[in-house]
Every structure is written in C-alpha cells, then in structure tokens.
C-alpha cells in the first residue's frame, strides 16, 4: 500500500487515490503574499459564506493582526509582519530621519511573553495577551545606543488550510468525517464529526481546531459547496488584489513559478515558494504560498511532515511491544510454582 505513495511522497492524483473515479482536476489556492494589502476581505468573505461565528474581540498587538492564527472559527488568517529590512528595492524613507532603534523586537516580545501564560499557550485564535503585571522588556527606544533603524518593511499574508496531498488530519480521523473530495481537497463533514479532537493534533500546520461551544472540528473547506456548483471559493473571489488565486493546481504551480522568476528579476530575491513542492513532507500543498521571508516568520512550520509518513514503522514498533507484552505475560506464569 505504501508503494503507491498513499501515505507519503509525491502523489499525482490524491482524489483518485481516495476512490474518486472520473473526478475533476485537483484545485487549490496560490496565495501570492507579495500583493496582499492586508485588507482581510478573505477573512470576512469566508465567514459570511460559511456562517462562521465571531471568534473573540481582542486587541492582540500583533501589528494589525487581531485574529491571531487559524482556528475553528477563522479559516483565513491574515498575518502582519513588521521587519527591519527592505522589501526588494522598496525604500521606506527612513534614511536621515531622526530615528532610534527599532521596536519590532520589543513589541513582539510583549505579545509573546503575554501569550505564554495565556490559555493553551496562545494556541487559541484571538487569545488576548494577558497582562503580566511586571515589566517584561525595556522600553523600546530607551535602548543603549543601539543603532538607528534604517530599513523597514511590512509584510502581509493570508494563511489558510493547506489541503495537503497527505493530510495528517484526514489520516487520523476515526469517523471518516474528514475526507478527500473529488477536487482533491480535504473537508470536514459537520454531520459526521463527533469531536474526538484527533485531527487537531494530526495537523502539522496547526490549522484545524475544535470549536469549544460546538464540540466539532472545523477548518477551511475550500468552499466545497461552491466548488460543486463550479464557483470559486469566497475568499479568492473577494480578494481585491488577487493575492489569493484559485484554480487547477497544475496551472497555479506554473503561475507561481513565473511570478517567482518575475520577482527575483525585479530584485525581490527573498521571494520563495512554500508548499509548492510535491516532494516535500506532505506531498505538496493544495494551498501554497509565495512568501517574502522564511515560513516561520509568518507562523508556518519550515519543514512540515505528515505524521503518517512513519505509520508502518510505528505499527511495527507497537507490534513488537505488544508481542513482548504477550510473551512476558506468558513467561511470568511459566515459573510453574504456585506462589
């Protein structure tokens, strides 16, 4: 069964592998973060279409990000990253201004330190930073003669479920609530899910989560209902700058390659594709990204691997352990003497 890469490695036809015959081409998202203007239309359009509840009205202090992360009630999440470095040949106009050291480090520290004591360590979307009650950092700019900031860029990026070729959430789901659709996407069926929570830990991207008041797991469906009527997902449709592009995955990959080359040529050498490679740890993502920094800066794992990769090995180890237990249990009675 592993020979055909059902569990790991490049897989050209995940829908077919999941038993869909005569299925449409695999579709996906290509999110080009270099044109994202951080408007969050994707978040709202997604919520409107899918009737997702509001997920907490908290000021997070993460630049303009008040969503925090993806979760059961946020299927799109726009990240905002403020950095001391230039974007390609862009000039933030800081040279010759009477500026001191940057505050990006310190503001991030405030948020991070506070999240550390938050519920679930900040693993909940919308978790408000908790007041620590003691000074956690030096006042920004009060620094010790550190150098003046000269560069700045503000990155925005709309995150979403990756719809992995090998989806950890789907593989571990014990009810079949999560399934692979004919479009090659990964969808939770709310009529089936019993809220076991296994998928939450199965996802190497931290995407899917359980909604506390509802008990079921939720995540992006790539608007399965719209897809079935030949429409594009709500987020991609709304996106004002076409940062979120939807289409057959093969086409998107070609488009992404062209865009990457174009950006490199334009001097944005830091541009990189994430999740595009079918040889990666999840067999390539159905939703992949063009990033302007390393993935972890946006909250992505740099090299995710589907846990199922080691399925066989794990069962083997368990088998050995089980056999050993059986053997040991038998052995302890073999002493013969009743004592």
């Amino acid at each position: 069964m592993t020979q055909d890469n059902s569990f790991y490695g490049p897989l050209s036809d995940p829908a077919g592998n999941a038993g869909h015959t005569d299925h449409p081409p695999r579709v996906g998202f290509f999110t080009d973060t270099s044109v994202c203007i951080g408007c969050k239309a994707c978040e709202v359009a997604c919520k409107e279409w899918n009737a997702i509840p509001e997920d907490g009205i908290d000021l997070l202090g993460m630049s303009f990000d008040n969503t925090g992360m993806l979760g059961a009630s946020s299927w799109r999440h726009v990240a905002f990253v403020e950095q001391q470095r230039p974007l390609g040949r862009q000039d933030a106009g800081l040279a010759d201004l009477p500026v001191g050291p940057s505050s990006t480090q310190e503001t991030a520290e405030v948020v991070a330190d506070a999240l550390e004591v938050a519920k679930r360590g900040g693993g909940d979307l919308g978790t408000a930073p908790v007041d620590l009650g003691f000074p956690s950092f030096d006042l920004p700019g009060a620094g010790t003669g550190a150098e003046a900031r000269t560069e700045f860029r503000w990155l925005m990026s709309s995150d979403v479920c990756k719809h992995c070729t090998h989806a950890g959430c789907l593989d571990v789901c014990p009810t079949g609530a999560l399934f692979r659709t004919e479009f090659g996407t990964v969808v939770v069926q709310p009529d089936i899910c019993n809220g076991c929570g296994y998928c939450v830990s199965g996802c190497p991207y931290g995407v899917i989560d359980r909604r506390p008041d509802d008990g079921r797991a939720w995540k992006c469906t790539m608007c399965y209902d719209r897809l079935r009527d030949g429409m594009e997902p709500a987020c991609a449709k709304a996106c004002p700058t076409d940062s979120i592009q939807y289409g057959p995955l093969d086409e998107l990959r070609e488009r992404a390659d062209r865009r990457l080359a174009q950006l490199h040529e334009a001097g944005v050498t830091e541009a990189q594709l994430y999740g595009r490679d079918p040889d990666d740890g999840v067999g390539g993502d159905g939703a992949f990204f063009l990033l302007l920094d390393d993935p972890e800066v946006y909250g992505f794992p740099p090299d995710p691997v589907v846990p199922t990769r080691d399925l066989m090995s794990m069962w083997k180890h368990a088998g050995v352990a089980a056999s050993a237990l059986l053997a040991a249990s038998a052995a302890v009675f073999l002493g013969g003497a009743r004592r």
Partner: protein, 334 residues
Amino acid sequence: MSREGAGRHGRGGRDDDGSRERSMVPKATFRSYYGRPVLKPPVWEWKVPAYLFTGGLSAGSALLAAGADLTRRPELARAGRIGGFGALLVSTYLLVADLGRPERFHHMLRVAKPSSPMSMGTWILVAYGPGSALAAAAELLPAGVRASLPGRLLRMAARPAGLSAALLAPGLASYTAVLLSQTAVPAWHDARRELPFVFTGSAAASGAGLGMLLAPVAEAGPARRLGVVGAAAELVASRLVDRRPGLVTEAYTTGRPHRLRQASEYLTLGGALTALTLARRSRAAAAAGGLALLAGSVLQRFGTFEAGVVSTKDPAYVVKPQRERLAARAEGGG
C-alpha cells in the same frame, strides 16, 4: 512580527517550579510569528491521559487474569477479570466523555481506517470488550445464579472469553502509543519508537500492580514478576525517551512533565523493588507496591501526555528541529 531569537524555549526564563523570571541567558536563535505556537495544542484534557492509564490497566489485568485462570489462581484471575473490565468501563466512559459530541460516539464505527490509530483502537476495543465483559460477568455472578443453566454456561464461556480478551490486550496496551505518535505533536511523534514500550511496560506494571493489590500474596507471584518486568521495560524505555538527541527531548526533561515522570520513575522503581522483595511476604507491602506501580503508571501517562502538550505550545519545538533538518538536507544535498 518575527521575533528573531525570541522563542520561549531556551530563554531560561522558566525554572523548575514553573515560575518565570526575566531571562539573563542568551536567547535562542530562531524566528517565529510573535512567539505564537505553530501547532494547535491537543484539545484533550485529563480524560485522555486517564484513558491511556485505564486502557493499559485493563489490558494488563486481562493478561494476568487469563494466565491466572489457566494456572488456577482464582483470586488473581478474579481480580484481573473484574479489574480489567472495570478499567474498560471507565475507559469507555472517558473516551465517550472526551468527545466534543459524545452522542455521536458510534460514528467511530462508520469506518475502519488503518491510517487512524484511533479507528484501529476503536475496533480493538470492540473486539476486546465482549471477552472482558463475559469473563468479568462470570466472576460477578451472584451465588444463586451460578448454579442455574445460564450461570453454568456463562462460567464455561469465561475462559475462552478471558483468553480472547488476553489475546487482544497487547494490542490495546500498545495502540495508544501509536495514537500519540501518529500526530504532529513533536514530543509524541519524536518518541514514536520508544513510546510503545513505555506504554506496554506501563500497562503491564499497572495490571500487575492491581493484581498485587487485590490478590493474596500466595497467588500474586506472576503479578509481581509481571510488575517487575513491566516496570523495567517502562523505566528503560522512558529513559531512552529522555536521552533522544534533539531539542524536543527537553519537553520531557524539563518542567512539569519532567516532574511527573520523575515521580513516576520513583514510584515504579519502588513498586518493582517491593515486588521483588517485601511483597513476596507481606500483603500490606504487596498492596503498597501495587499501589506504587499503579500510581507510577498514572503519572507516566500524564507526564508523557503533558510533554506533548508543552511541545506544541512553544514554536521552538517545531521551528528549530525543522530548520536543522532543512540545513542538514541542504548540506547533504549540496
């Protein structure tokens, strides 16, 4: 914004009693999104680690009961059968109660997925349950019914039932290790080779502990031996977990998970030593040793569980090893 070198992990800001203070140690070098976790912490709370224990206990007990039955140790068999079934009932309750939608527990039977340890575990439980129940029922028959025809039939069925449960018990004891390993939780996934041994060892030790506690010293020899063997396996495997290379191991060796597992180690070791020594003579000592083994097993499960939770809350456990892996690959490739 990216926190360059601002991971929680390795900031030295957390000492062993869990309090935090300002770090004076150089910050680790990795970047993250405002220190937010990359992964979602498991939604499971105490019920799942509790189930890990009760499931293991049930399995260990069933094995012991079957052996005792075959070797005519009625008290030990009785303790194992009833204890095993009792633990199974508690397990079932814990599993169902932990669901977000408990009324949909039967959806677990929709599919049989080899890729889902929970699905496999469900089917193992389904297969294991009747045997365990039958065997326990036979033990629990009121005196008046024992002689009746149904009573006699039931007692005749008890042995095969107990044996069937015992045959499935090792699966029950070990699948939970795969259940945890088959996740993106760094501490669990990384320990995927050792965890089955920790868990089966722990299952054996807890089953044995129950036997030592409930059965008379005279019948409890196999329980003591199983306790020693199980404890040894658990201790060794657990130590191996602690010695794995890489950052993720720190999830086990620091903080609360470390304290839980350390306590578990002491109790298990103590229980095993008791089993080897005093428990052979003293019922009280046997009971104490049994309790120590049981407690050790409980703490082991909670410690392991919490190590996993901790490893999801700190992005360092995700980012750093993956970065290192990428770097190594780049080096190897080029």
